[in-house]
């Protein structure tokens, strides 16, 4: 079995910052907007190098989304930066009308998604954002898994013409994907080959899925781990090809089971190949204060939870 290791941990938001800085150097149409969270979004380098292409909006996210839509008229490629909660729920109608329905080329870049925001608690820990954004017609939804993938995704979405929601996080997590990767929107990545169960994971749960697959291997269970970084458009084929072989699937995400990756996968399976599925996700709940590790443990979003879900789904084959 192919195994993955890491030598360094970094936050995915820094991958966004590095990608944005590179875009600042290579694409003169890229502009950045922020609602008073420059440091949290790691936008400093872009701003330092391109002060004329940066717009500090202040604490006014609705205005930021509208201004971003307006900037596209004139050929700019705006990247907005704030927390995931304030990038989605707070400004849903602005995104819906001025960006999605209007077909504007805005990149909504959202940090501190999910429980791993930690101590700030439920007001800031959005677990509904993937659902909100994937329901908007034409919106691409991406949730990369580590620093390198987030950097690559940030760079890649500048070349895609249309609205994109890019979701990333705050905690330091293992870097296990290559620095020189080419990011393909909508293309799943198979990390391990397996025959007993498919594990489909997104964001911070991808590393946990790889950890789970190691433990499962030792227990004699062969797991195929697939990284779905693009939740919409979903790589249906990668999922269907894998379950054709394994016959069961576990989905894993730092999000509510309602509206998340798991539901998107379930729709594909229900239509094309009904398959036993278990969901590693939060269960229709808000988060709370705590360290990221404590929260992921309490809400069942880690390697152990994935292993348990695999054991459960295997019995349903």
């Amino acid at each position: 079995m192919k195994t993955y290791t890491y030598t360094e941990k970094k936050d995915t938001r820094s991958g966004f910052g590095a990608g944005l800085a590179e875009l600042g150097r290579t694409n003169p149409n890229v502009v950045a907007l922020c609602a008073d969270l420059i440091g949290s979004l790691k936008m400093d380098e872009f701003i330092k190098e391109n002060p004329e292409r940066f717009f500090q909006i202040g604490i006014a996210e609705a205005n930021m989304m509208g201004i971003a839509a307006g900037l596209t008229i004139g050929g700019k490629i705006p990247f907005t930066g704030t927390f995931a909660n304030f990038s989605t729920g707070r400004v849903y109608d602005q995104i819906r009308q001025s960006i999605a329905y209007s077909g504007k080329n805005v990149k909504i870049c959202a940090s501190h998604a999910g429980l791993t925001l930690g101590e700030d608690g439920a007001t800031h820990q959005i677990l509904e954002d993937i659902g909100l954004m994937k329901m908007l017609p034409g919106m691409v939804v991406i949730n990369p898994c580590d620093y390198n993938q987030t950097k690559a995704a940030t760079i890649a979405i500048a070349d895609y013409d249309g609205p994109v929601y890019l979701r990333f996080g705050r905690p330091s997590v293992p870097i296990f994907t290559p620095a020189d990767q080419k990011f393909e929107i909508g293309k799943a990545i198979k990390f391990t080959e397996g025959t007993d169960v498919t594990i489909v994971a997104t964001g911070h749960l991808v590393w946990e899925a790889l950890e789970a697959s190691k433990a499962l291997h030792e227990a004699g269970i062969s797991a195929e781990v697939i990284n779905i970084h693009t939740i919409k458009p979903l790589d249906d084929k990668a999922i269907l090809d894998s379950v054709a072989k394994t016959g069961c699937i576990v989905t894993a995400e730092e999000h509510n089971h309602l509206g998340g990756l798991g539901e998107s996968v379930a729709r594909v399976l229900a239509q094309h190949r009904p398959t036993p599925q278990e969901f590693v996700a939060t269960n229709d709940t808000f988060g709370e204060s705590g360290t990221p590790a404590q929260l992921m443990d309490k809400y069942g979003l880690n390697s152990e939870a994935i292993q348990n879900a695999v054991k459960k789904v295997l019995k349903r084959k």
Binding site: G58, I67, Q94
Partner: protein
Amino acid sequence: MPNIKELTDLTTQVRRDIIRMVHKVNSGHPGGSLGCAEFFVSLYQELMETKDGFDMDGIGEDLFFLSNGHISPVYYSVLARSGYFPVEELNTFRLINTRLQGHPTTHEGLPGIRIASGSLGQGMSVAIGAAQAKKLNNDDHLVYSLHGDGELQEGQNWEAIMYASAKKVDNLISTVDLNQQQIDGSTDDVLPMGSLRAKFEAFGWTVLDIEKGNDIEAVIKGMKEAKSLTGKGKPVCVLLHTVMGNGIDFMMHTHAWHGKAPNDEQLANGLAQNPETLGDY
């Protein structure tokens, strides 16, 4: 000098278009549309510098954004009669498969439209973004926007109003259609907003009143003055005093025709008050 007779004739024809469009589908918003007929005619015929044809980016031309999208009938009529799309297409307003949706949209590819509007309070932010893109592009053309007065009750406007002056967006002229009416009654009954002049000035804008917002000469004169105030470090607000339902006596000075279509008899009455000038579509 503008030919006032021609512009007045066009305005009369636009009023006919508005009530005919709304009557045909028994839906739409005639009141605010009629109140802004002179403004739209002035904007597209006299004030804006526009290129032939239409492209989304609009580099090298003035841009207009309608924030209160429900007054789409006047917008569509003036766009069509300014050459953006065939006048006959006004026949399709609000019908299935039309480019002339109930509220304006880019989604169906109608030339002249650069943003969807209808959910209120979003247009000023968009206009600011477009104005800032013009500055980045070293494009010295202007961005115009129109907002309902009741629409200013939406909080996003005040985020935008605060931002535009702070960031010296001085290539923007935002006009408020001050007809003092909204769906549930007069703005003073629903939610009094006090002095909009004082509010915009307190937020750092240059403010100009056009008292006779349904007098085409006054509108052109006022908007030209507004234009002369751009480029001086501040965004410009025009308070356009209009009469809702203007030009059709039974629709005037009331919120009753905000979103209501005339019946056959009322249509005939309204058309009789506005004899055909340039030809119906």
